[in-house]
Symmetry: C2
Subunit: 310 residues, 2 copies
């Protein structure tokens, strides 16, 4: 069974890892958000892609949630000594990836080609596909004005209230041929439990992306979303506060509203079973199942539940 | 007393460190060879500059002779995993420097401006000046054809015989304003015990460089060279074999021939005292003094001997 997952960072990476566990090699493509990408020290850093890459390669640091297990930090120390800002912590092995990716993209390769090769080098059996090879960058408006996404997310630790979100460049971006191919050939589409606003949002904001998903649905391909909100809280990151500060609520019902017309099903945790009717009323069919992934088995179980529901 | 030293890598760095020890802060400028510079993984790597920088900052690895003391190697390991060539060993902290320098040069700064700022960040009281901001690259002809310098020097460990040397770009290069200023204001010029062919050679090949040195000599500024050959052997690197394969001999007399008309004095080791007359006959006045630097005191002593002779 061929499956396409849409994913942002940690939560998306974990469900993608579950899907990779339960599917045969080559059956999964993960379309990752690129609007978090950032230029640091002259290097192209792709946080969501890399979290998915490291997680699917079995190299991720499970405690920290981002970066590589067993990472060292010498270069970051030296960057600081040389007058660079160091609030975005790049490990030594991670830095090597950014160096290689930047060099190859600068040499003229498409981002997608580069990261597919890097994924193969790290032994990942899944195709991790940037949603676009074009440049999209998320900015958020806070009470103190507009901020670049990583400035808000990492430097300010997601503390400011987000009042508005913009995806610079999205209107001129296009899905890659690889993404369109994957969607055209898939049997299932899974929207991972990532932030619907700033992780899944920028993917869907690319002209042609919704149409490609819609075309799959017309062929009978079910779209199942997995809620990143459980019992009113984001399992990770600022999605709960962001949904509220943008005028919505931190609940599975809000997730249903955002995915209505796009997803057929919304998988919600047992803790939210009492909101199943409200989810249905918002326009998405609810599926209740354990939605908190605590280990590899939990990731696989959630993946199985999402695929079974669909 | 203001002093300008011309230097390549390790030997030059060590005498530069001696000069820095015996001069007051700000009195020394070191003009470094840039023809060894190389693009690796999309980054601008400047081996001679960095050896001088790390040595003058007190950060160099004394055993290895290049790179930083206490260096770590995680990024290099990852570069290899990602399919990059790893015969040029970049440490993690070293990589950080290359990343920063590359970013700033790409952003439009002159190499000289960038490295002066990095030197200041590392607390170096000496101005380390690239001989030029233009691109020069050494190539060497071996029995198997032409090779880029680092391909010959690092990958092939200087094993092939060098039959011819070319400095690509030298004819179109210019000394920097900083180098010309330093030479115009100096009281002494020291040619460090670096490879005369591929370290000092490319510096002198820049149009205008010899004329600037000549102008200083006409003002009465003495030029003292320190022989990189002691008792027929290069203290480090392939200078001895290279001098022979290029048709000369591995001796202080050969060094005198190469610097005749440029240097007033050649400091040779006591082991070569019997060649003093031959050095004089080759056109450079010999000065005999211990020329092997084994520790900081030896570096300072050689620096003092060179300055006193001049």
């Amino acid at each position: 069974m061929r499956v396409v997952a849409l994913a942002g960072g940690v939560g998306g990476a974990r469900l993608a890892h579950g899907l990779q566990q339960v599917l045969a090699p080559g059956e999964l493509a993960v379309v990752v958000n690129t609007a978090d990408d950032v230029e640091l020290h002259g290097l192209l850093v792709c946080p969501d892609h890399d979290t998915v890459l490291y997680t699917l390669a079995g190299l991720a640091d499970r405690e920290r949630g981002w970066g590589l297990a067993g990472e060292t930090w010498s270069a970051l120390d030296q960057l600081g000594r040389l007058g660079e800002e160091t609030w975005f912590a790049l490990g030594d092995r991670d830095l090597a990836l950014h160096v290689v990716r930047t060099a190859r993209v600068r040499a003229g390769a498409r981002l997608t080609q580069v990261v597919l090769e890097l994924g193969a080098r790290l032994g990942v059996p899944t195709r991790i596909l940037p949603a676009t090879d074009d440049r999209i960058r998320t900015r958020v408006r806070t009470p103190d004005g507009w901020l670049d996404f990583q400035d808000y997310f990492v430097r300010l630790r997601s503390q400011p209230a987000v009042l508005e979100v913009a995806f610079d460049g999205a209107a001129e971006a296009r899905p890659t041929p690889e993404v369109l191919d994957a969607l055209a050939g898939t049997k299932r589409i899974v929207i991972c439990p990532s932030n619907p606003v700033v992780s899944i949002g920028p993917i869907l904001a690319i002209p042609g992306m919704r149409a490609a998903i819609e075309a799959a649905r017309e062929r009978g391909v079910p779209v199942v979303a997995v809620s990143p909100i459980v019992a009113g809280r984001a399992l990770r990151g600022p999605a709960d506060r962001m949904l509220v500060s943008l005028g919505g609520e931190a609940s599975v019902v809000e997730i249903a509203r955002r995915y209505a017309g796009l997803a057929d099903l919304l998988l919600i945790d047992e803790a939210d079973a009492d909101l199943a009717d409200a989810v249905a009323a918002a326009g998405v069919r609810p599926v209740v199942a354990p939605a908190v992934m605590t280990d590899d088995a939990g990731r696989a179980a959630l993946a199985r539940a999402a695929l079974t529901a669909a």
